[in-house]
Amino acid sequence: MAAATGPARWHRNISAKIAAIPMIATALVIFIGGTAWTVVYSFTNSKLLPREKFVGLAQYERLWTSNKWLISIENLAIYGILSLIFALVIGFFLAALLDQKIRFEDTFRTVLLYPFALSFIVTGLAWQWILNPDFGIQHVVRSLGFENFAFDPLYNPDIVIYGVLIAGLWHETGLIMCLMLAGLRGIDEDIWKASRIDGIPMWKTYLFIVIPMMRGIFITAIVLVTSGIIKVYDLIVAQTGGGPGISSEVPAKYVYDAMFLSQNLGQGFAASTMMLLTVIIVVVPWAYLEFGGKRT
C-alpha cells in the first residue's frame, strides 16, 4: 500500500522518511559503521588501544588454533540449541497451563517472571550455591539417606555447561512464557469451539492450529532468546568463571577476555568478527525471507 513506488511519489512518504531518520542513522552509523570498524581493526595487532598496524590474517590464524576458542564455540552450540528449545517448549507449555482458566494466575505468572528482574551476577551466585555438592542439593539428598546420589554439574568439566543451562533457563523462561501466554490470549475463541465440534484433540489443536497462528510471537521470542544466547557472558562469569579449567568458556567471554584481560584488542575483534559472520550467515537469509519479500 504505502510501498507504492510511482515515479514522482518519493516525497509522498516524506514524513515517514524523516521519522525514520534515527533508525536509519542507527542502522548505518552504529551497526554497519561499528561493524566495519571492528572488522578493519581485526586485521591489526592492536593491543590496549586501537592502532593501524596491519598484520593480515594473523589474528584469525591464532584464533582458530586456540583451544579455548574451539571449546567456546562448542559450548555456545550446546547451550544455544538446548536453551532455545527448552525456553520455547517450556515457555509454551507453562503458558498453555496458565491459560486454562486457573485460579491464582497472577501469582503463578509473577513467580515465573520474577527471575528476569534479577541480575545475572547474583543468579549465578545463587545457583552456584544450590549446585554445590558440599552444601547444595547433593548434600541435602545424601543426608536423606541416598548416599550415592551425585549431582555436581558445575564441578564436572563434561557437563558444566548443562549446569549453566539450568540457571540460564531459570532466568529467561518466565519472559518467554509471558510472550506465549499473550499469544494464546490473542487466539480467537471460535477456533477452539470449531476444533471441539470437529472432535480434534486438544494437543492437536495446539500443535497444528494454534502454534502456526502464533508465528509472530515465536519470531519475537526466538530473536529475544537467541540474541541473549549469543551475548551470554555475565552468567558464566558469575557461576563458573569459565571453569572448571576452560570447560565452560563461551565466545562472548573469549572476546571480552581478549580485549580487556589479555589486552589484545585485535584478537577480540577477530573473534567478534567471526561471531558476527555466523550471525549474518544465519540471520540475513531468514530476515530477507521474513521482512524483505512481499507483504500483505
Binding site: A19, P22, F31, I121, W129, A182
Partner: protein, 304 residues
C-alpha cells in the same frame, strides 16, 4: 487481531472453554500439581537468597544454605541500602538510586518514542529500503555489546556528548531499538487496515494518524515496551559506568561494588539483600502492570 481492542474479552476466554468441574478432577491435579512444582523450582533460589540475607556471617560460614536463619537479623538489609561502602562513599545502594531514576526516565521515554515511530513507519508507511534498514537493525540485536564500546566512545567524543547524561540516553535508545522496533512493527501491522485507510481518505497525514489513531489504541504495547526497557536499563551496568562519570553512576555500580569485590571479606548476606533491593523496581512494575503486559503482547506480536 482486532479483538485486542475489545477490552472485555477477558482471560476467561481460555481455550478449553470447559465449565469449571470438580475441584479435585484429574485435570486440576495435573495443572496445579505441575504449576506448583515448577513454582518451587523457581522460588528455590529466591528462598536461598532471602534466607541468606537474614543470617549473620558466622551462621553463613557454618554453611547450610537451605536452613532457615537461627537468629533473624535485618542488619544486612540496612547495610546494603544505607551503609555498605563502595570506595569512600559508605551510603550503600541509596547513593545511586536517584541517578538510576534520572537515567531510567528519559531513556525509557526516548527509546520507546523512537522505536514506536519506527515500527509505525515500517508497518504502515513502508518506503523503498525501509525493510533493509530494519533487517540491519535486527542483525544489530545480535552484536555483543562489548564490541561496540570503543566505536561508540569515539562517536560520542566527536559529537561532544561523551561523559554526560545525553550520551548515555542515546546509547540506551540505540541498543533498545532492534527488539522494540520489532515489537511495535508487529503490533501496528495487526491494526485493521480499514481504520488506517479511512483516516487517509479523511486527509490525515503521518503524524496525525500516529497521534490520533495509533497511540490511543496502543496503550498495551507501550506498557510492554516499558517493562522490557525498565528491566534492561535499570539493570544496566556496563553502559552506565563507561559513558558517564561518578556523579551520574547508576545504582548497579554500587551493586557491583558490593557484590563483585574480589579481595577482602565477602559478605554474602549483604550481597543477597542488595540484589533483592535492586530488583525491587522492575519487580514492582511486573506486579502493577502484569495484566496489561499480557494483553499488550497478545495484541501486538501475533501476526508476523
Amino acid at each position: 487481531m482486532s479483538d485486542a481492542l475489545q477490552i472485555p474479552t477477558p482471560p476467561a476466554a481460555g481455550p478449553s472453554g470447559r465449565k469449571p468441574g470438580k475441584i479435585l478432577s484429574r485435570r486440576n491435579i495435573f495443572i496445579y500439581g505441575t504449576l506448583i512444582l515448577v513454582s518451587l523450582y523457581y522460588l528455590l533460589p529466591l528462598y536461598v537468597m532471602v534466607v541468606t540475607s537474614l543470617k549473620g556471617m558466622p551462621e553463613i560460614r557454618v554453611g547450610n544454605i537451605f536452613a532457615p536463619p537461627v537468629e533473624i537479623t535485618f542488619q544486612p538489609w540496612v547495610k546494603a541500602w544505607a551503609e555498605a561502602c563502595t570506595g569512600l562513599n559508605c551510603d550503600g545502594l541509596s547513593r545511586g538510586f536517584f541517578n538510576s531514576v534520572k537515567i531510567l526516565v528519559p531513556s525509557v521515554i526516548l527509546s520507546i518514542a523512537i522505536a514506536s515511530v519506527n515500527g509505525y513507519a515500517l508497518a504502515n508507511w513502508r518506503f523503498k529500503g525501509s525493510e533493509t534498514f530494519f533487517a540491519i537493525l535486527i542483525v544489530g540485536a545480535f552484536i555483543p555489546y562489548q564490541v561496540m564500546i570503543y566505536p561508540i566512545v569515539i562517536l560520542l567524543r566527536e559529537a561532544g556528548l561523551y561523559g554526560g547524561l545525553t550520551g548515555l540516553v542515546i546509547v540506551h535508545t540505540i541498543f533498545g531499538m532492534p527488539i522494540l522496533t520489532l515489537l511495535f512493527r508487529n503490533y501496528f501491522s495487526s491494526v485493521p487496515q480499514e481504520l488506517f485507510k479511512a483516516a487517509r481518505v479523511d486527509g490525515a497525514g503521518f503524524w496525525s494518524i500516529y497521534f490520533r489513531i495509533m497511540v490511543p489504541m496502543s496503550l498495551p504495547i507501550f506498557v510492554v515496551a516499558m517493562i522490557l526497557q525498565v528491566t534492561g536499563i535499570w539493570n544496566d551496568f556496563l553502559f552506565g559506568v563507561i559513558y558517564t562519570k561518578p556523579d551520574l553512576y547508576p545504582m548497579t555500580v554500587q551493586l557491583n561494588n558490593i557484590v563483585n569485590s574480589t579481595q577482602g571479606v565477602k559478605e554474602y548476606n549483604v550481597n543477597m539483600a542488595a540484589t533483592i533491593l535492586t530488583g525491587l523496581v522492575p519487580l514492582t512494575i511486573y506486579f502493577l502492570s502484569g495484566k496489561l503486559f499480557v494483553r499488550g503482547i497478545a495484541a501486538g506480536a501475533v501476526k508476523g
